[in-house]
Amino acid sequence: MENKNISQIVQERIKEEGIKPISRKVFSIKRVAFWVIVFSSLLVGAFTFSLALSSLLNNDWDLYNKFGLNFVFKTLPYFWLLSLALFTILGEYYYRKTLLGHRRGIFVILGIYVVFTSVFGLTFYLVGVSNFTEKYLEEGPTVYRNILLNRHEVWSHPDDGLLSGKITRIAPDVLEIIDPNGFVWIVDTSSAVTRGKTEIEIGERIKIIGDKTDNNSFDADELRPWIGMNLLMR
C-alpha cells in the first residue's frame, strides 16, 4: 500500500462498501440533546438552590444556643444541597460535550454555572417558587416529606421540647394541634412568646418550643411560624 494511492484506496472502499455519511439529523439531535441537558440541569439546579436557600434562611439558627451544634446539623437541607451539587456536575459534564465546551476550564464552567444557578435560584425564591413547593410537599406522603423537608423530623421531638403541627382548635391560652404523626396535643400558651409572623389560625402549621407535661399535653415557651424569615427575627 503506497502513500500516493491511499486516497484512491479510500475512494474505492467508499464505493465498494457503499459507505454513506451518517445523517445530519443524528448529529443535530445529539447537539440539541446536550444543550437540553445543560439548560435543564441549570434550571433544576436553580430550583434546588431556591429550596436550599429557603431552608437555610428559615432555619432556626438562634436555637443553636439552646440545643447545640447537633441541632444545626440536623436542620441543614442536605437533600437539596446534594441535588444542587449533582445537577451542577451534570451540567458541567454535558456542557463540556458541546461543540466548543472543551475550550473552557472546569473552574470557569463551574463558576459560570454557580453564578447562573444563584441568580435564577434567587429569582425562584423571591417569586415564591420554593414556598409553593414546600407547601405542596408538606401535603404529600410522609416518606417524601421527611426526606425532602427534614424540618418535620427535627420538630417532632416533644420529649426534647420541640413540637410542631397544624392548629385544629383555638381557645384562650390553649391551642389544640395535630402533629405530623397524627397525634393530637393540647398546648398551654399562657406563658408563650410569639415569634415572627406566627399566624394563630385553624389549619396553620406552627413550631412550638416548651416542655411535654403529659402524654398529650405541652407547655409552650415559644410559638414560631412553620416557615418564616427567622434570620430576621433576632
Binding site: M1, N3, S7, V10, I14, R104
Partner: protein, 191 residues
C-alpha cells in the same frame, strides 16, 4: 465532480459540502490531508509506514462517514486531526506499545528553532537524542509539543484536537518545554 487539479482554490468547508453531494469530491479532501496526517500518525505512534497507512485509511473512512457531524465553527483541520489522534491512540492501545517519537530531518529544524537549540543541532548531535528526550516525556506533554512545534498548530487548534481547555494546553506546552529541556540536557551529559 471537482477536478482534482482545480480543487486547490476551494476551501475545506466547501469541499465538505461538495463531498456530501458527490462522494467523488472527497478525493480532494483526502489528498489535501493524507501527507500531513500520515506524518502526524507516525510522529505520535512511531508505527511503521505500512501500519500508519492502515490507520490513515481508517481515519479517512471515519472522516467521510462522519462528514455531516463537521461543524464549521471548528476548523476542518482541527476536526480531522482529532479523528486522526483518536484513531492513532486507539491503534497504539490495541498494539500495546509505548509510543515513541519519530522525527524526520525537517522536523529537527522546526524543533531546534522552537527550543533554541540551533547550535547543538549544527554540531550534528544525534537526532536520536531529541527523539529519546521526547519519548521520555509523559504522553500529555509529548502530544502537545508535537502538535505545537512539529505540526505548527495554534493553541486553540490543539485545544480542539485534544478536547482540552485552552488554558490547560498553554500550561502543558510550558511545562512540557521545561521537562523536554531537562531530559535533553541529561542525555547530552550522558552521551
Amino acid at each position: 465532480m471537482v477536478d482534482i487539479h482545480s480543487c486547490e482554490n476551494i476551501t475545506d468547508e466547501q469541499l465538505v459540502e461538495l463531498s456530501l453531494s458527490n462522494s467523488d469530491n472527497f478525493l480532494c479532501l483526502s489528498k489535501r490531508y493524507e501527507d500531513k496526517l500520515l506524518r502526524y500518525i507516525i510522529r505520535i505512534s512511531k508505527f511503521s509506514r505500512e501500519d500508519a497507512l492502515d490507520v490513515l485509511q481508517e481515519v479517512l473512512i471515519k472522516t467521510y462517514y462522519n462528514l455531516n457531524g463537521f461543524d464549521p465553527e471548528l476548523k476542518f483541520s482541527s476536526w480531522i486531526y482529532r479523528i486522526a489522534h483518536n484513531e492513532a491512540v486507539s491503534a497504539i492501545r490495541k498494539k500495546s506499545v509505548r509510543p515513541t517519537v519519530y522525527m524526520e530531518v525537517e522536523d529537527m529544524s522546526k524543533f531546534s528553532d522552537a527550543f533554541d537549540m540551533t547550535k547543538d543541532i549544527d554540531n550534528s548531535l544525534d537526532r536520536k537524542v531529541i527523539d529519546e528526550a521526547l519519548s521520555k516525556l509523559d504522553e500529555k506533554y509529548r502530544e502537545v509539543l508535537i502538535l505545537r512545534f512539529l505540526d505548527e498548530k495554534e493553541y486553540v487548534e490543539i485545544a480542539d484536537i485534544l478536547k482540552k481547555p485552552i488554558s490547560t494546553v498553554g500550561n502543558l506546552i510550558l511545562r512540557g518545554k521545561k521537562l523536554f529541556k531537562e531530559e535533553y540536557e541529561k542525555l547530552i551529559i550522558k552521551n
